[in-house]
């Protein structure tokens, strides 16, 4: 299972990287978003999948699932959500002000 997840994470990372390297701003935002999902899956996989029962006191299980990665992912999701929202708004505003969503034309020059 871990191997399968790792391959999936790698797949998500490569798709995300491909999108980030493209020219359109919207694709860059989507690429960043996809990588963030890959990262979350990676944290989950690194904590170990499907080991033992619920991490509750008084249960019958002697081995517990590690709850920490899930707490980490929750935080990471919230932060990534905020950053992606901000990034989308920023891209839209840039499109409005600069008049292009092509990152090639966002280089600018010294004399303006």
């Amino acid at each position: 299972m871990e191997t399968l997840m790792s391959i999936l994470v790698g797949l998500l990372f490569s798709i995300g990287t491909y999108l980030i390297l493209s020219k359109t701003l919207l694709r860059i935002v989507l690429g960043a978003s996809i990588i963030s999902h890959g990262v979350n899956l990676l944290i989950l996989t690194m904590g170990g999948l499907k080991k033992g029962g619920l991490p509750l006191l008084g249960g019958n299980n002697l081995s517990y699932t590690d709850a920490l990665p899930q707490a980490l992912i929750l935080t990471a999701i919230v932060i990534n959500f905020a950053v992606t929202a901000l990034f989308l708004v920023l891209c839209y505003r840039t499109y409005q002000v600069v008049g292009t969503d092509d990152s090639e034309q966002l280089r600018g020059n010294e004399d303006e």
Partner: protein, 496 residues
Amino acid sequence: MNNVVLLPIIIPLLTGMIMIIFRKNIRFQRAFSIFAILATGAVSVFLMAQIRAKGIQTLQLGGWQAPFGISMVADMFSALLLLTTSVVSFCCLLFAFRSIGKEREASYFYPMVLFLITGVNGSFLTGDLFNLYVCFEVMLISSYVLITLGGTKKQLRESIKYVLTNIVSSFLFLVAIAYLYAMTGTLNLAHLSVRIAEAGQDGLMTTVAILFLIVFSMKAALFLFFWLPGSYSAPPTAIAALFAGLLTKVGIYALFRMFTLVFYHEPQITHLIIGVLGALTMLLGAIGAIAYWDIKKILTYNVMVGVGFIMAGLASFTPVAMTGSIYYLIHDMIIKALIFLIGGTMIHLTGTSKLKEISGLIGTHPYLGWLFFIAALSLSGIPPLSGFLGKVYITQGTFETGYYWLGAIGLITSLMVLFSIMKIFMNGFWGETYLSEEMEKGTTKGLMFPIGLLTVATIVLGVGAEGIIEYVNLATESLMNPKLYIEAVFRGNVTP
């Protein structure tokens, strides 16, 4: 357990949140933000006194014992940086009062600065790797807002690159955290140090260490500085000075913490790489500073030279070099904010950042000229100003370790820095006065005070080194002995 440790994070956070409600009341926001910074500064002085008397102060959040809960740890290194952060942000805020403009003030400028400081202080104080990520994000998201605040074409264009670079490096940070968690099963820095010391730092662990090095290098502009010149020249002066003084320094702090507390077992690999990156950063930064004829560009390239030089101290990894690095880091935070403020004032007066169009400012603004001269000498490390002592110690450290090339590059780039900064002085302040006072685009009214204050700080740091070095030595001691940090966090409890 010491609840004071949390105050430098809580004060700016709460005041920032309250200020959001009073958006229109700018006078209240100004007064309240100054109050928050002064209170944070006072708390950090208090913390320094406590740490000096009783050793490293810790707080386990919610009373959860060390490896399970989140620990906040204040050692002398963090406390010194907290105090410097307060000084720098105080001066930048004073500068902003006169220069930032009504529109930005009404668009949550002050709350964002305070949230930025929350993130910076949080990064300095946290004893947990994931919490460090969260504090980094708090700081970065505020910086995204600050860099775009105003929404001019140039700001938007540069901020896209800045935001994307930082998002990618944050992903890498999370990836590195995930790998480290899989290998050690903990994220508490003290616990990580114990576990890695027990298990040994094998090849895989060193690889993860280098991943962390890449992440923090991106934030600290150590070699991976491609994003810095553009994004630091886009925002208004007060914000750029705040960024130059604080943001890259947080990355440097993280590098110091990780490579003295956790990954210190293989210095011939990791620390050598840091040394090589530092040398390259110094050289490339100095070449950039010499090549450009634009004030903002010259100053931003000088930021990189400083980063490279501090890293030379970490690469040497001897007590002397560490003392030098800590001292130089404090000096660098103050001096970078100072030269950005002075450079910004020059641009404010003349309306251009092109050095060839500026001349003879010393005729109309003698004080600004001489303050810049003092700052320039301090930046390049002329005694008795603050840059000197740090440079001596770092160079001595590199020679002790046998990295003669590193020390030599540090000294050569110091000369290049002196040349680049004197270029601004000679072209900008000397020569024929083009502009009479009536023709100027702005005034220095109210801008001189924060600049003077930072100049006094750099002189005090240099002349009063005897008193300060005692604290710096305490910081070095806690960095060079991971045991002190670990004992302070676990307080005699059994490490699981």
